[in-house]
């Protein structure tokens, strides 16, 4: 279990981005973090990824090995084709290309891009680029996958499709996933757990568990538990927003 204990983060210049965040994330869960813009969601993910260290508090229970990280934009190397972009994490870990080949192929198959291994990023659509970024994040078989509003820039149809792909991946690979989003609907559709953050300095204002069928699909959006959860999360989000003022 990943435990965040009293995490605070102050940027140089004195600005407190997040303040005393306590969060427990069960292994194998899918946790969404929802909150207003600027409340410190990206900061929180960077702390969990180890890209920054908190000014106070501690993070324990990080799984061994590399963490997978997907940014809001795909952040691919434009000079490398899809295969080499996905190879990067393994290459940095000094895995030989021959050894990496089957794992790259597997990761590309999981995101449905097997036919595009030799394509360059600029020849791909936004949704395809995002899927390359996901393949790159999972190619090391991480036990923890962090995603920072990965689908925010995509149209709804592509986004729904990628949501389903992501759920399948999460189920099959049993990757503990932390997913940042602005969208209440997206968070409810995807998550087993939802954490709602207050405006800056961000704190966790509420937690919700979402009960739903083991395998979710578009029909889930029409069920009562889904609609109830959406209403409850929206209400808590509004309350969280009101706190700051």
């Amino acid at each position: 279990m990943l435990v965040l204990d009293g995490i605070a983060m102050r940027y140089p210049g004195g600005l407190a981005a997040i303040d005393r965040v306590d969060l427990r994330i069960e292994d194998g869960s899918f946790t969404s973090i929802v909150g207003p813009s600027g409340c410190g969601k990206s900061t929180l993910l960077r702390l969990i990824a180890g890209l920054a260290s908190p000014s106070a508090g501690a993070i324990t229970g990080r799984p061994d090995g590399a963490v997978g990280l997907v940014f809001q934009d795909a952040t691919l190397m434009p000079w490398a084709d899809v295969e080499n972009n996905v190879y990067l994490p393994l290459r940095l870990a000094r895995v030989s290309r021959a050894e990496a080949k089957p794992r790259i192929a597997e990761a590309l198959a999981l995101v449905g891009l097997s036919d595009f291994a030799q394509a360059y990023p600029r020849a791909l659509s936004g949704g395809m680029r995002m899927r390359v970024a996901i393949a790159r994040a999972i190619v090391t078989r991480p036990r923890l996958l962090l995603m920072d509003e990965p689908f925010a820039a995509l149209d709804e149809i592509t986004r729904n499709k990628l949501n389903d792909d992501l759920l399948r991946l999460w189920r099959e690979q049993e990757i503990t996933t932390i997913f940042v989003t602005h969208s209440v609907f997206e968070s409810v559709y995807l998550s087993t757990d939802i954490a709602i953050m207050s405006p800056r300095p961000g704190r966790i204002m509420a937690r919700h568990a979402v009960s739903g069928p083991a395998i979710r699909d578009a029909d889930f959006r029409a069920t009562q538990p889904y609609l109830d959860a959406c209403r409850a999360v929206s209400r808590d989000l509004e309350r969280a927003m009101a706190v700051a003022v």
Binding site: P78, L88, Y120
Partner: protein, 256 residues
């Protein structure tokens, strides 16, 4: 069609030049007609080409030296702000001092018996700075997200340099190389002018010589060769740029 247009303009200008020079009876030592220049090119061609080859050798050597030196120094600068802050001022001093002014000094130091060494050093100084500044800029213009990714996967300094910083710097580096190649040629010619004496073998000295002897058509022929060389150098680098960047740089699409 768009390729033929400059050619057509050139032909018209040449025709106008030829007729007006003949009609107005302009003395040959002021402005020779194109036909005389062509004649000079035929008769003095082999000799001029030999001279051009000398100039070109030095140009390429100076360009290679400034490319490697500029890139190496830029890599050093990016590793350490301290090194950059201590060395950059001197690079700037070299950059802002006119080479014509340092030429005599360099000639005294290395060029008394070997003019070409002095020319090489002077041309390198001239061509060096665009590489240094463009490479430093390029090496720093790394996508912060990709930098995070390299940190996340605990990339070593070498991995970051080879797999992230150098590829990120490539467009800026090549733009610098294009400027620098032109400057290497200009630097070589200017250095030949100031450092050269009777023993200099480059094209610049043939120009001086022709002017002294009032062989103006020969001088124009040498000038023409020099311009063509500059164009060719530029074209080579543009080709390399296009090859290397077309896959990922929006300005270099396959269709372009």
């Amino acid at each position: 069609m768009s390729r033929l247009l400059p050619l057509l303009v050139g032909l018209i200008v040449l025709a106008l030049w030829e007729t007006s020079v003949r009609l107005m009876q302009v003395p040959v030592f002021v402005l020779p007609p194109p036909s005389l220049i062509a004649e000079a090119l035929m008769t003095d061609g082999p000799q001029l080409l030999d001279a051009l080859l000398e100039t070109l050798k030095l140009t390429v050597a100076a360009f290679a030296a400034s490319f490697l030196g500029g890139l190496a120094l830029a890599v050093l600068f990016v590793q350490s702000r301290l090194i950059e802050r201590s060395l950059l001022p001197y690079a700037v001093v070299l950059q802002v001092t006119p080479i014509v002014a340092i030429a005599p000094l360099i000639v005294i130091w290395v060029g008394v018996d070997h003019v070409e060494r002095a020319v090489f050093i002077l041309a390198t100084i001239v061509a060096f700075f665009p590489i240094l500044s463009n490479a430093s800029f390029g090496l720093r213009s790394v996508d912060p997200g990709l930098a995070d990714l390299f940190r996340l996967y605990r990339a070593t300094g070498w991995q970051r340099l080879w797999l992230l910083q150098l590829p990120s710097a490539l467009p800026a580096l090549l733009a610098g190389a294009r400027i620098s190649a032109g400057l290497a040629l200009i630097g070589t010619v200017v250095a030949e002018f100031v450092a050269g004496s009777g023993e200099a073998t480059g094209l610049a000295w043939r120009i001086v010589e022709s002017a002294n002897r009032l062989e103006i058509p020969r001088m124009f022929a040498a000038l023409l060769l020099l311009s063509l060389t500059g164009l060719a150098l530029n074209a080579v680098i543009v080709q390399i740029e296009h090859r290397l960047l077309r896959r990922w740089h929006s300005g270099h699409g396959e269709a372009a």
